[in-house]
Structures are given as C-alpha cells and as structure tokens.
C-alpha cells in the first residue's frame, strides 16, 4: 500500500514535470502548436471581433441604442468608446456613458471599464426626411490575460423609417 502511494507521488511529480516543460515551451519559445481544444470552450482569449460584439438600432424616433456584448475575461475602456454620425442630415446630442467599473492599472491608475455588457443611449436629432443615418463607432479593450486589442472602428446604418416623434 505504501509502495503504491509512493509510486503515485512520483507519478504526480513526473506528470507535473512534463506539464511544466510543455508549458514553458509554449510560452518561452512560442514554438508549440496552438491547441484550442485541450481545455474546452470556457474562457478562451478570443479574436477581437468575437471579444467585443456590438448591436445598434433605433430605440425611438430620436434615440438609438448601442449594446456591446463583452466576452468573459475581456473589458472595454470607457474613455475609448466614441460615437459620431456621418453626413449632415442628423446630429448627435450629448452622450451619457454608463459609469462602468473601476479597473486598477499600475500605469494608468484607476480607469473605468465595461465588462459583460454595456448599453448606451444616443440622442439623435434628425432633420425632416432623414430616416437612414450612418453611425460611426470606435472602441478599444484588453484581455485580463495580459494582452490588448488594437482600437476598433465600425460604421452601421440606423434606420428610423416609420418612427414618428
């Protein structure tokens, strides 16, 4: 019985040693094959277009709603969230960004970030007849694992057709 336990201990040590060398090979030289399947789907570090997904649609005649769905393990910087309208058939009113949560950083101090989901109401002042408005958005975020995604930009059409003030 004691012999079996002792062997198991050394088995555990051997397994740990192998895991260690494999792990250090992966991070130090960067030359192992990427393996997405090994630990299942849980908290993968996603490509940026999957980490931050936005939806934008008119809420009523003079408001648009933008929602960002933020993957677990990632966050968006509040001060990097920007909105603008293209063209001169509509103008954007003052945007009140949600407070978000505090993220502490040794360089930037306490910054405000968004996690999981954030919704922003955009006041849109449209001139008569302007039903389709082009919205421009910008955002930038990082992953808790220690990498940052580059700033992202997108354009999307807000269709206010049929919505009366």
């Amino acid at each position: 019985m004691i012999k079996i336990l002792r062997h198991c201990f050394f088995c555990a040590l051997a397994a740990a040693a192998m895991a260690s060398s494999h792990a250090s090979a992966a991070s130090d030289t960067g030359s192992t094959q990427p393996s997405l399947k090994l630990f299942g789907n849980g908290d993968q570090v996603l490509p940026v277009e999957q980490a931050f997904v936005f939806e934008a649609a008119p809420l009523d005649a003079d408001t648009a709603l933008v929602r960002f769905t933020i993957a677990q393990g990632t966050y968006l910087y509040r001060d990097k969230l920007k909105f603008a309208l293209e063209g001169d058939t509509a103008s954007l009113g003052p945007v009140q960004l949600p407070a978000g949560s505090v993220h502490s950083d040794e360089f930037f101090g306490d910054t405000r970030v968004y996690r999981t989901v954030v919704e922003i109401n955009l006041p849109v002042h449209r001139y008569p007849g302007a039903d389709r408005i082009m919205l421009k958005l910008a955002w930038q975020g990082c992953a808790d694992i220690g990498v940052c995604y580059p700033p992202q930009r997108a354009r999307t059409v807000l269709d206010f057709t049929g919505l009366k003030p």
Binding site: M1, I2, L5, R6, C8, F9, A12, L13, A15, A16, A19, S20, H22, A23, S24, A26, S27, D28, T29, G30, S31, T32, Q33, P34, S35, L36, L38, F39, D43, Q44, V45, P47, V48, K80, D105, E106, F107, F108, Q140, C142, A143, I145, G146, V147, C148, Y149, P150, P151
Partner: protein
C-alpha cells in the same frame, strides 16, 4: 491474549493512520503543484492560440517604416544583426510593463550582433512621449496604418499587443511571443542569436 491482540491491532491501525496522514500531505502537495502547473500551462495555451507558429523558420520580410523623428528606416533581416522586434503601443498597459525589461536587455546585450527594435502600433506623438517616459534606448519605428499589418505578417494573427518576434542573424524567424515576455525568456532569446550572452556576467 485478546487484549494483547487488540492492542497490537490498534497499534497497527495507528501506524497505518499516521502513514496515511503523512502520505496525504505528499499527495496534497503533489496535487497542488500539478494544479498550479496545469493553470500555468492553460494560460500559455490560451496565448498560444493567438499567433501563427508557422512563421517560425521562415525568412523575415524587409520592413520599411519611419522612426520617431520621421526618418525612414529599413530593417533588412539577414545582414548579420539579430533583431528582437517588440510590437507595442502607448495605450497598452502590459506593453508598458514589459518595456523596462527590454531596455535593460538592450543595455546588457545590444551590439552589432543584436538589437531590440520597437514597432509602435500607435500615433507618433503618443509613442514619443511614452518612449521617453519608459526610458527606451533602442530604435522605435512607427507602424503605418495604411499599409499591410507587419505584426500580422510576423504571425500576430490575433493582432494583440504586446507581441515579440526573434529574428536570427541570418534573417530567419526563430521565436514568437504573445503577451509580455519574462526576463528569463528574453535572455534565452538573446542567447539563441548572440555570442555575447555567455561573455557578459550578471545576467
């Protein structure tokens, strides 16, 4: 007789119990160690999925960019100087955390054999301010947003920062790293490409 047998039985139980407790301690430590290493391995795997290791062994492309003073600089791999190219940005906190280590590396091992080169994926004024604040002592080039993404060309398919590439003196890509590099890794990289690591003491 019965009590003697019972006494012997209890004594044996007692020995087995202490043996089991002692063994449990070893097992607990081994399991904890395994879990820690597994966690570390998991973390490495996550970062490993964001770059293309297929670049390793390929010749690095020639890179023509502008430096912080606006002068055009061309990196020609294979001219005898190994390069540690580090992609970073002023807004990237993990990049800023890593840079002092790279500056120290440059101080110790920068030579005709080896140099660190920073490529800022960022606007020049912000890069310049950050470079001064961080004490960068190696060339910094500004990535051109209008031309093909060099980081992607060098395997950063996730386009994340920080991202580092080791290019040998013969111009071949030797190693890639997503996320900040540890000092030990950086010294290991220099050792792969330069004779000078063994000559300098105190690493």
């Amino acid at each position: 007789m019965l009590s003697a047998a019972a006494g012997a039985y209890r004594a044996r139980l007692y020995r087995l119990k202490t043996v089991r407790l002692a063994r449990r301690w070893w097992l607990g430590a081994a399991v904890l160690g395994l879990l820690l290493l597994a966690g570390y391995g998991w973390l490495s795997m996550r970062l490993a999925s964001l770059y293309d290791p297929g670049r390793i062994g390929q010749m690095a492309p020639e890179i023509s960019l502008v430096d912080l003073e606006g002068a055009e600089v061309t990196l020609q791999p294979g001219q005898g100087q190994a390069l540690l190219i580090n992609f970073w940005a002023s807004w990237c906190a993990p990049c800023r955390a890593e840079i002092p280590m790279l500056a120290d590396l440059q101080r110790r091992y920068g030579s005709s054999d080896f140099t660190v080169v920073g490529i800022g994926v960022d606007r020049a004024p912000a890069l310049k301010r950050a470079a001064t604040a961080l004490g960068i002592n190696y060339p910094v080039l500004v990535a051109d947003p209008h031309s093909e993404d060099i980081a992607q060309q060098l395997g950063d398919i996730g386009e994340v920062l920080p991202y580092s590439v080791l290019i040998g003196r013969n111009g071949v890509i030797r190693a890639l790293q997503v996320g900040a590099m540890r000092h030990a890794t950086a010294v290991n990289w220099v050792g792969q490409v330069s004779q000078r690591v063994s000559q300098k003491t105190g690493n």
